[in-house]
């Protein structure tokens, strides 16, 4: 067999798209929380249909730098649809028009040459805008700190197989646990309710036998933390689940309502 010597390992460079797009972007600009904010219009040319929505914004920012305009601030990190850091309301939809997709996984081939795209931050009273498209979602952390855990000290756990858990229960818990905490549910709800997030997080733990001991306290504390954080009430519109990039089901909201009512009643009579 042949020994080999490297020729080049370069990435393709100078590869341009066969169908570059021209777009008009109406983007929300806001210098800080107290600023009232406004839309700014920018034109961008030569966008590849293979680039992701965030890569299109990268390209815009490089262009703005050359024009001497401050780039647009937006949140992002893993860019593979799992960390939940990216956000954006695109043409009125949280994470854009494609179902079951985060903004980082939305690709430009879903748009057409000549389109005008409106880009806003996730809007909710509990998510104040920090800058441009960046919002503060720390209210979600407050809900978890109130009870989104099983109290188990490191080192005190029994053997992993000591407690058999029926597969369908475990699978259902996993369906809830798939939530990435991005906040699309809140942004798409006209009441800015965090019910789907809270229900997914509480449901994941309440469905498992390990989580049963603290179930009542958990649901009461998490729901009151949710209310205190300034989220609105749930009216079962279902926009949350429709916009959820991980397809978290409305059934978990029903379960949380049930668990909450039970816990409240029990508290009342005890």
């Amino acid at each position: 067999m042949r020994r080999w010597i490297s020729r080049t390992s370069s990435w393709p460079s100078g590869v341009t798209s066969d169908f570059p797009m021209k777009l008009t972007l109406k983007i929300w600009r806001q210098s800080e929380e107290k600023d009232s904010g406004r839309f700014e219009t920018h034109r961008i040319d030569g966008v590849s249909e293979d680039s992701s929505f965030l890569e299109m914004l990268d390209q815009l920012n490089e262009q703005l730098l050359e024009e001497g305009v401050e780039p647009v601030a937006f949140d992002h990190d893993c860019r593979e649809g799992i960390c939940g850091m990216c956000s954006l309301t695109i043409n009125g939809f949280a994470h854009g028009p494609e179902n079951s997709t985060t903004t980082c996984q939305l690709h430009m081939r879903k748009f057409k040459d000549g389109d005008t795209i409106t880009i806003e931050p996730f809007r909710a009273r509990a998510f104040p805008v920090l800058r441009d498209l960046v919002v503060d979602r720390s209210a979600f952390d407050k809900i978890i700190q109130a009870g989104g855990f099983i109290s188990v000290r490191t080192g005190s756990a029994p053997d992993g197989n000591a407690l058999p858990i029926p597969k369908d229960e475990s699978d259902q818990a996993m369906d809830a646990a798939a939530c990435i905490g991005c906040g699309a549910c809140v942004a798409s709800c006209k009441n800015a309710s965090a019910m789907l997030f809270t229900a997914a997080k509480a449901g994941h733990l309440n469905l498992l036998p390990q989580g049963k001991a603290e179930q009542e306290k958990r649901v009461l504390d998490m729901v009151s933390a949710m209310d205190n954080a300034g989220f609105g009430n749930c009216r079962n519109y279902g926009e949350c689940s429709a916009s959820c990039p991980k397809d978290i089901s409305l059934d978990f909201i029903a379960k949380l309502n049930r668990d909450h009512a039970k816990a409240k009643l029990k508290k009342l009579f005890s």
Binding site: M1, R3, W4, I5, S6, R7, T8, S9, S10, W11, P12, V15, S17, V47, S48, D50, S51, S52, D58, E62, L65, E70, P71, D77, C78, R79, G81, C83, G84, M85, Q105, L130, R131, R137, S138, F140, D141, I144, Q145, G148, F149, I150, R153, T154, S156, A157, P158, G160, N161, L163, P164, P166, K167, S170, M174, A177, A178, G181, H204, Q210
Partner: protein
């Protein structure tokens, strides 16, 4: 620089027990007098902060994301290994230890690896108790699968989202401590330097990414759980924000940096589609169980529709070269073979940098539904990114930087050469040698965080190390001033080029000369090019806006500045390591048929670099790796 590994005495299986018994304890009432800084909130950092908080220490935990639950551990797909032997298939702690040492191509520290294998079983118990929804059998017990490089089924998993679920477990434990006030969480904060007092780590300086505030924090010890440096290549499977700054700054303050040239290149990633590319996406290695890798035999066939290329005109090169492992050959070997095929001009897709991963055989054998059941989410992800349907047309894949085995040198207690400064998880160097096996990264992060550091930090705290200084003291102030100056330099540079353009160019150099194959001429050339690029960066960089508010360009410029230094260190290490091992392939050292050739005589050691000052050549030290329990052997997958 003194490299005392502090490996405990006794037979390998008793070292950890002996060490725990002989380690100093901090009594519960005294723990609350101590403060510990934890930088990073992934599996290592989140687990460490939660567990040390439970023990009663006061913790300040920092992350650059908006919440600790977003650290890049979250993206791990496949699973986590543990020597539970639930399958009764011959697994044991010793076998996991053996596989990991061999898989690391005999360049890791035996004692650390054995400890990792020992505590692996506790990790699974802990995670189950926290509510991690691992996959289960119909009888309700935990399911396992096999994974690259192992002949037993020891991998635990939660669909294709194991990292996410383990991180949510650590994050929930952390949140519980935040609620009690034992842990203070500082989000959107980036560590920019380490504060040392009389050579001991006593604090850090951070920049608040939301409002620009630069601040010093002090404590009795500092834990760096800041991940790897894969983004020195610009394009990698890391999150876009991952960076080397915390570890690199610790290196500049005296922490030895071990084996920076050990980088892992994952064979199955979606290829680069053009100049707009900002990151690469991994397609789980499990696809190789049913997919067959090929390229056209004749380069003239490359532009053709793959379905029009006849069976005879295809080269299933992995099956041809490695008949016994075939498409399941280990990561480093599969990656190099893909590069070889593309170098030969037979690559497919944009720029000719891609190979086919073909499921048509599996689909005709098992039916499309079975394939959809097994890999549906991956096929969907592939379709989102490429716009192609992999049920009808072979996937295109290409290797990409995925993980970095090198990191800050640590002793058996996970302490760096700066007393009081510890490194956990991917940020340290100790457990994976020159190549990491699949499903081992999650294991190591959680092992370090949940089970190792809570036992070993007492040696420092109860020893001579404890004691804190004021954040207003002269040492902290000096570091604070130097960070301010660095930030000012970046914002005041009046050039024309964006930090991204430098990062891209650095990535091109690194990938070209220090990627899947390296040689002396190329590495020397890379060092020169990086130096020139750095000089240009200092003159021509343009960062808009100021340092007093949220400024993503400034954040990136700071990270790229450190990558420019670090890239040179990586190349220097690759140049000095005059052998091939694991992920480090030197073209000068290969067998007749193109396989990696180790040089145990001269290189069975960790190379540890000591910073000698700005513009000075760093000094290379070595820690010999002794193999008393696993016999040095050639890794063969023929």
């Amino acid at each position: 620089m003194i490299l005392d590994s502090k490996i405990p005495d006794g037979p390998i299986s008793e070292k950890w027990d002996n060490h725990r018994f002989s380690s100093k304890l901090v009594n519960p009432a005294n723990k609350r007098k101590y403060r510990i800084i934890v930088v990073g909130s992934g599996l290592a950092g989140g687990a460490a902060a939660a567990t040390l908080g439970e023990l009663g220490y006061n913790i300040d935990c920092f992350c650059y994301q908006d919440t600790p639950r977003r650290a890049h551990s979250i993206a791990a797909q496949g699973g986590i290994n543990a020597a539970k032997n639930y399958q009764n298939d011959g697994d044991s702690i010793h076998r996991l230890f053996y596989d990991t040492v061999k898989g690391g191509d005999f360049r890791s520290r035996e004692a650390n690896v054995h400890r990792l294998a020992q505590v692996s079983v506790n990790i699974i118990d802990q995670c189950v108790a926290q509510g991690v929804p691992f996959a289960r059998e119909y009888g309700g017990l935990l399911a396992n699968r096999s994974f690259g490089g192992a002949q037993v089924s020891r991998t635990f998993y939660a669909r294709g989202q194991t990292g996410q679920q383990l991180l949510i477990g650590a994050y929930s434990a952390l949140s519980r401590q935040v609620a009690t006030g034992q842990v203070k969480m500082h989000t959107r904060q980036e560590m920019l330097d380490l504060v040392t007092v009389d050579g001991h780590a006593k604090g850090i300086v951070t920049r608040n990414l939301a409002n620009g505030e630069i601040k010093a924090w002090t404590a009795d010890a500092v834990l760096l759980c800041t991940g790897g440096y894969g983004n020195v290549y610009y394009l990698s499977t890391n999150a876009v924000g991952c960076n080397v700054t915390a570890a690199y700054r610790a290196y500049r303050r005296g922490a030895g940096f071990a084996n920076p040239c050990y980088t892992q290149i994952h064979p199955t990633c979606i290829p680069v589609s053009g100049d707009h590319q900002s990151k690469l996406t991994l397609m789980s290695e499990s696809l190789r169980n049913d997919g067959r890798v090929w390229v056209p035999r004749d380069e003239r066939d490359c532009p053709k529709n793959p379905n029009d290329i006849t069976e005879e005109a295809r080269d299933y090169y992995l099956e041809r070269k490695y008949p016994s492992f075939g498409n399941l050959a280990p990561r480093d070997i599969s990656s190099r073979s893909a590069k070889e095929a593309c170098d030969d001009g037979r690559g497919v897709g944009p720029g000719g940098r891609g190979v086919y991963l073909d499921f048509s055989d599996a689909i005709s054998r098992l039916g499309e539904d079975t394939i959809r059941e097994r890999y549906g989410n991956l096929f969907q992800m592939y379709e989102r990114i490429t716009g192609e349907n992999a049920y009808q047309r072979p996937m295109r894949i290409y290797p990409a930087i995925h993980y970095t085995m090198g990191g800050l040198w640590v002793d058996y207690n996970l302490m760096t050469t700066v007393p009081g400064c510890f490194a956990l998880g991917e940020a340290n160097f100790s457990d994976h040698g020159a190549n990491r096996l699949g499903a081992s990264a999650l294991m190591q992060g959680l092992s370090d965080g949940y089970f190792v550091i809570p036992n070993t930090i007492g040696n420092y705290m109860a020893g001579t190390g404890g004691g804190s200084v004021s954040p207003d003291g002269p040492e902290a102030k000096e570091v604070l001033d130097s960070v301010r100056q660095r930030v000012d330099q970046l914002t005041s540079c009046e050039g024309r080029r964006s930090s991204r353009s430098y990062h891209k160019q650095l990535g091109q150099i690194m990938w070209e000369y220090a990627g899947m194959a390296r040689n002396e001429v190329g590495l020397k050339k890379a060092i020169g090019e990086i130096q020139n690029l750095r000089e240009d960066f200092q003159k021509n960089l343009h960062v808009p806006g100021s340092g007093d508010n949220l400024n993503a360009e400034l954040e990136r410029a700071g990270r790229v500045r450190d990558f420019l230094d670090f890239g040179e260190l990586l190349c220097r290490d690759a140049l000095e390591r005059n052998e091939s091992c694991g992920g480090h392939f030197r073209e000068e050292h290969q067998t007749e048929d193109g396989e990696a050739k180790r040089d145990d005589e001269n290189f069975a050691h960790a190379a540890v670099w000591e910073f000698k000052g700005e513009g000075e050549i760093p000094e290379r030290h070595v820690e010999e790796m002794d193999f008393e329990n696993v016999k040095l052997a050639v890794r063969s997958y023929k």
